[in-house]
């Protein structure tokens, strides 16, 4: 090729590369709340619900909003998970969402710190909302990160113990006296377990970390601890003895109920967590750690036994805190690229703070209401057993997991250790926890 055209081609390629580079560095978050919330407009709301009854509940809730705000139409898009959400929030674009909701509170740290969700402080201040008077403390915590409030709670989840009262009676246990401490729990779980060959006819409790809701953070809420990070933002899993105590107890439970291999093989016979063949429904397990939503699933599955609910047990020396539990929930926020942020805020404010809206949605979907007013509302229509979960939600010692800039990564790192430990692959737990803490700190540093 002659010299000049080659130079021309190189220049062309370089120009194209630079132009493309420039276009790649877009998508920065900016608050563009200049729209008129009183104007006729249509906003798009993305949520994650898939179950037809739940989709109907959220659609009805949106319809109530549209009735109260006739100038704002809401286009509802369901079945959105956090990966899709993250990509849409980064890509922006006119077809993207204005309002989003997510079930994963562990991603709030990532969403807030990166600006993937807009800062709600200007809206809250403009409407003079006193969050302390609206939301319980734990719910306020898991919807912000390091002072940046990028989301608000849209209903919440409280975790407790479900147990098969008929199985209790058959085993000679008092069905009205569920275990309150972990040592009582271990005995009850063993009494309820009926081995059959190298498997089980009935298992008292599936303690493995993959037993659906028996995950590290849910167990940890039943041991007194001061969060996953200290004031300097460093991991506390090695410093706080509660983590080692929890893991040691869980491992002893695994060993006493048959060992990891036997339990894990039995776990592979379980039906889907969200289906009618859930092991608690089928009687394969007699006790289950689960969220308040299980009550609705139990009713839908028409189980043949009497179901009892109670708070999860606590450590033996922490009996005074019995009644607490793990709290989580759905969060709601505004896309930073939205050009209709004021209208979007109207929807967020209505769905998260309006008592009637929160109560109506909680009644329809069977979740715990997320505002202090709604928790006391006489309009709540629930199964009497639901009261247990309302009390767990109100308990001052109930906890949640902390946010982090890299989302649930630190929980995954801790869970990886916990999985190895329950399998008996960790000879020195203290050292392993120290290594895990260092790894968590390194991962967070790499993401900051």
């Amino acid at each position: 090729m002659p010299v000049r055209p080659r130079r021309a081609a190189a220049a062309l390629a370089a120009t194209a590369s630079i132009a493309l580079f420039a276009s790649a560095c877009t998508g920065s978050a900016n608050n563009a709340a200049s729209d008129d919330p009183k104007a006729q407009t249509t906003i798009t709301f993305w949520h994650g619900w898939l179950d037809p009854a739940e989709v109907k509940a959220i659609t009805d809730n949106v319809a109530r909003f549209e009735k109260a705000h006739p100038n704002i139409k809401v286009k509802v898009v369901g079945g959105i998970n956090d990966d899709k959400l993250g990509q849409a929030l980064r890509a922006g674009g006119s077809n993207g969402p204005d309002v989003v909701s997510s079930f994963t509170t562990s991603n709030v740290g990532k969403f807030c710190s990166s600006g993937a969700l807009a800062d709600l402080k200007p809206f809250i201040e403009k409407d003079k909302l006193d969050l302390d008077k609206v939301f319980p403390k734990v719910l306020q915590e898991y919807t912000q990160f390091e002072g940046r409030r990028c989301s608000l709670p849209l209903l919440s989840d409280a975790y407790g113990l479900y147990y098969n009262k008929d199985a209790f009676k058959a085993a000679g246990l008092d069905p009205e006296a569920p275990p309150k401490t972990w040592s009582e729990f271990a005995k009850v779980a063993k009494t309820l377990t009926k081995p059959k060959g190298d498997s089980y006819e009935q298992l008292g409790f599936m303690p493995n970390y993959l037993g659906y809701e028996t995950v590290v953070e849910h167990y940890m809420s039943q041991w007194k601890h001061n969060g996953y990070f200290d004031a300097d933002g460093r991991s506390t899993v090695a410093k706080d003895p509660a983590f080692a105590e929890m893991m040691t107890y869980q491992k002893s439970l695994v060993d006493s109920l048959g060992g990891f291999q036997k339990l894990d093989k039995y776990r592979t016979t379980f039906g889907d967590e969200w289906g009618a063949k859930h092991p608690f429904h089928t009687g394969q397990v007699a006790m289950q750690l689960d969220g308040e939503w299980r009550l609705n699933f139990v009713k839908k599955a028409n189980v043949s036994f009497d179901v009892g609910v109670a708070p999860m047990p606590v450590a033996d020396d922490e009996i005074a805190e019995y009644g607490k539990g793990y709290l989580s929930g759905t969060i709601m926020g505004i896309a930073p690229q939205s050009k209709k942020q004021n209208a979007a805020w109207e929807l967020v404010k209505y769905m998260t703070t309006d008592t009637d809206a929160v109560v109506g949605f909680a009644n329809d979907i069977g979740n715990v209401p997320s505002t202090l007013e709604a928790l006391k509302s006489p309009n709540l229509k629930f199964d009497p057993r639901f009261k247990t979960f309302l009390e767990i939600a109100r308990h001052p010692e109930s906890t949640t997991m902390d946010g982090a800039v890299n989302g649930a990564s630190y929980q995954e790192t801790l869970s990886a250790l916990a999985h190895k430990y329950e399998k008996g692959q960790v000879p020195d737990l203290k050292k392993a926890l120290a290594d895990t803490a260092a790894q968590i700190d390194r991962d967070i540093a790499a993401t900051k």
Binding site: M1, P2, R4, P5, A8, A9, A13, A16, S17, L20, F21, A24, C25, G27, S28, A29, G48, N81, D83, G86, Q87, R90, F103, S106, K110, S114, G115, A116, Y159, Y209, L210, Y212, E213, V215, E217, D264, K265, Y266, R267, T268, T269, F270, D272, E273, W274, N406, G407, A408, S409, Q411, E412, S415, A416, K420, Q439, R442, D443, A446, T447, K448
Partner: protein, 332 residues
Amino acid sequence: MSTDTLPAKEAAAPAAASPGGRNTLRSKRRRNALRTLAFMSPWLIGFGFFFAYPLVSTLYFSFMRYDGLNPPTWRGVENWTYVFSDLPKFWPAMQNTLWLAVVMVSCRVVFGLGIGMLIIKIKSGAGIFRTLFYLPYLAPPVAATLAFVFLLNPGTGPVNSLLEAVGIPAPSWFNDADWAKPALTVLAVWGVGDLMVIFMAALLDVPKEQYEAAELDGVSAWQRFRYITLPNISPIVLFAVVTGIIGAMQYYTQPIVASKVASGVMGGSGATFQPGYPDDSTLTLPQLVYSLGFSQFNYGAACVVALVLFAFSMAFTALLMRRRGGLIGSGD
């Protein structure tokens, strides 16, 4: 060649002597070059947009802290040191990817070739066998993986029930770190129909007279395969190995579906799904790229892993291209 170019040079000489002629020649060359560029432009645009730009920007972002939202900030080699020294999942992912590239690809090539050789020898009903062996390749990867996880379920799967019934110790397949990759290999070999068809075409193309001559010389079956079949089909073997390795470097769908279903963490659960279940044994480099970039918003580290993947694919391919003769005994 020289007879063609000489008159052209001679013809050009007087024109080049005068300034006007030089200009004419230059503009002619420019026109030719532009025409060439115009013809090449579809490729140039495609190459630029879909290869050069992503590659250069991946390299650029590997030195930056970038979350896809905020402007990138320079981090030097921090992402590189993080991935190589502080990211505990990197080395298992690398090991698994290499395992799959070596074992899974070898098994697929051996089985594809073996089945192809058997089928071309069948006198009647070859069409039925060809179809039977090819059909699994048409199954969507997600559906095929789901079916395999169901069949190989340690608690309820028919394969383990059968093994236990005949007294063979049944492994936990996708639920056991030692068996998860072999189970994925079984799945890959089940879908070997694509290679079988390609090998069949290559095998049918081997000149028959070479086999006839070998038969007259009284060579063994192994010698026939080693000195006639293999050299003749070596380009196809190379093609199968190179594309297999590139495929292994991109292996994502099957391990992620298998680990998700086998772990029971299907979404919406309290448990967070961690790719690689059990014990990172099915974690591959593409999964790590996705996890770092799209779950943790750490584009920089994801770009480092993507570049490692690219370097590996290039190195493997270059090695195979150079060592082709040594590997399969032919300088074809």
